[in-house]
Amino acid sequence: MLRETLFTVKEEERPTRDGFGDGLVAAGDEHTKVVALCADLTESVRMEAFRDKYPNRFFEVGITEQAMSGVASGMAAMGYVPFMSSYAMFSPGRNWEQIRTTICYNNRNVKIVGAHAGVSVGPDGATHQALEDIALMRALPNMEVYVPCDATEARVITQHIATTHGPAYLRLTREKTPLMLPDSYVWGNGKAYIMSLPKHAYGGTFAHSVGIIGCGPILYEALKAARELEKEGIGVTVVNMPQVKPLDGAFLLRFVKEMKAIVTVEEAQASGGLGSAIAEFLAEHHPIRVARVGVEDRFGQSGKPQELYEEYGLTSKHIVEKVKNAIR
């Protein structure tokens, strides 16, 4: 499931936060109970369109990530569907306990939107590059975790979580990244789906079959890696798993049967993220070689996104290496 023009014409690019902004307005149109809170980063997290369209349903709470979590929980207690946003480093970074007790254990219908996640935030440096947010949110009972791969998916997931009941975390990124999914993309029943198959998937012309499973805009690097590997006779199927929790175990079990190895990719700490979730699941249910691409127990730093992808081993070149090692 990809745009037909992907890799043939220059990619159209948008940040996932833009897709969220569109999705929030759409969710606001569809549901009168949708409200939004922001901790002094309204434009940056793309809540301004919602604020301008629905000023009475938007609440600027200032730099109070901890109190914002409680305020949102209180709003949910009155039957509303609050989306609360900040940079991921501050929410869910700073207010993890409030999210745990007041939102998750209290089981309130709050949607937590963490923007500017990953090293691709760039020049702001490590303090603003949330790499642990997936792990933090994945460990919480009642919480669902979503990592959209492009602006289209961010819009669709935003509209989807406006209709689910219970806490959800939506992870967004700052930089413009390629639109990979077709405009017609809708949130289906499957939480995970195949993005691309090797050209001769069922022709048996490949010596190896490897599955790359990832989430977020880094999947573009995975798609590039798959094309490279194909040239070398290694068949790679790329899977998007935008819902990290609950993990789509049924899909994984079906998928891994045909695979020699699995390589996971994400722009987060390799420890505790999607790769960990997949490795845990497969170790218990279908032991198979799993290798993870992610930040390896380090903090980020200032730099251009591409420089940082290079430094932290997140480019297609690194994914190619990881795949080759996995089947060696």
């Binding site: 709470v61 109070t64 305020v71």
Partner: protein, 288 residues
């Protein structure tokens, strides 16, 4: 709300004593939990549930109800005991406090027990939730007419989240939110002014642009009058500082911070219950 008659005060005092007895019994049975705070706040909770609140114990989800948001979750024995005596559930269930499978969790869990408005325990969490509720209430034009009482401890004011919340309370001028602070001056490690000085609390809240009413938290007329005044304030929110004696009603527990976080032994409980019963109807604050 007219001021209380002597007969009404007497009835509330007797009710508060029953609640204190229940608190001592349930904590002794549980073998752990917090003693001082619940006993100290028994009069305020009695006033709320038996005089002030618009509520219906048989329909805890009634949409028109006033909300009681307990921020300092560790004093939940007083909430459980008051709710049981008010008819939310049977008084006999109080002895399941802190037991495996009990609806009466060590710290309140909303989904476990109807009538509990929020899950709390980690300190500083209540006021922001009351603000979120009141914001939506305001968005709906205050219909139906509801109030949001946030019960807070003084020790928990150490938590920064409270001060974020006070800023928000001022910003949105939510006069339907009524914070009631238990100023019992103790916390686990000692007296509040030794651990992390809070004074002058009144001038702090005045600087936040709130009305501040200081009351004797064991005087029913004082409690009811202050809440009435807070409900009638339309220009800015009112913070009620309730001066209480931690462990109130049992001489051995009163004013001693070491009783903040422990439960009475069987022997201590016997003495405490004897004292509570012998003083029946005579618990007074000060010289009276």
């Amino acid at each position: 709300m007219h001021s209380l008659t002597d007969v009404e005060v007497k009835a509330l005092e007797l009710r508060a004593e029953d609640i204190r007895e229940s608190i001592v019994k349930m904590l002794t049975e549980a073998g752990s939990g917090h003693t001082a705070g619940p006993l100290g706040m028994a009069d305020v909770f009695t006033a709320l549930y038996f005089r002030v609140l618009n509520h219906n114990p048989r329909h805890p989800e009634w949409v028109q109800r006033d909300r009681v948001i307990l921020s300092n979750g560790h004093i939940v024995p007083v909430l459980y005991a008051t709710m049981a005596h008010a008819g939310y559930f049977s008084v006999s269930e109080l002895k399941t406090l802190r037991r495996f499978g009990s609806r009466l969790q060590g710290h309140p869990h909303r989904e476990s027990l109807p009538g509990i408005e929020t899950t709390s325990g980690p300190l500083g969490c209540g006021l922001s939730q009351a603000i979120g509720m009141a914001l939506m209430d305001k968005a709906e034009g205050h219909k139906p007419d509801r109030f949001f009482y946030c019960l807070m401890g003084d020790g928990e004011l150490d938590e920064g989240q409270n001060w974020e919340s006070f800023l928000l309370l001022n910003k949105y001028r939510l006069t339907k939110v009524i914070p009631i602070i238990d100023r019992n001056t103790i916390q686990i490690d000692g007296y509040t002014e030794d651990v992390l000085p809070l004074e002058s609390l009144t001038s702090k809240f005045e600087a936040f642009n709130f009305h501040v009413i200081e009351i004797n938290g064991h005087d029913f007329r004082d409690i009811v009058r202050a809440i009435g005044a807070a409900k009638n304030s339309l220009d800015k929110p009112t913070v009620i500082i309730a001066h209480t004696i931690p462990g109130k009603g049992v001489t051995a527990f009163e004013g001693d911070y070491r009783w903040h976080g422990k439960a009475p032994s069987d022997e201590e409980s016997k003495k405490a219950l004897k004292e509570l019963r012998s003083l029946r109807g005579k618990i007074r604050y000060g010289e009276d």
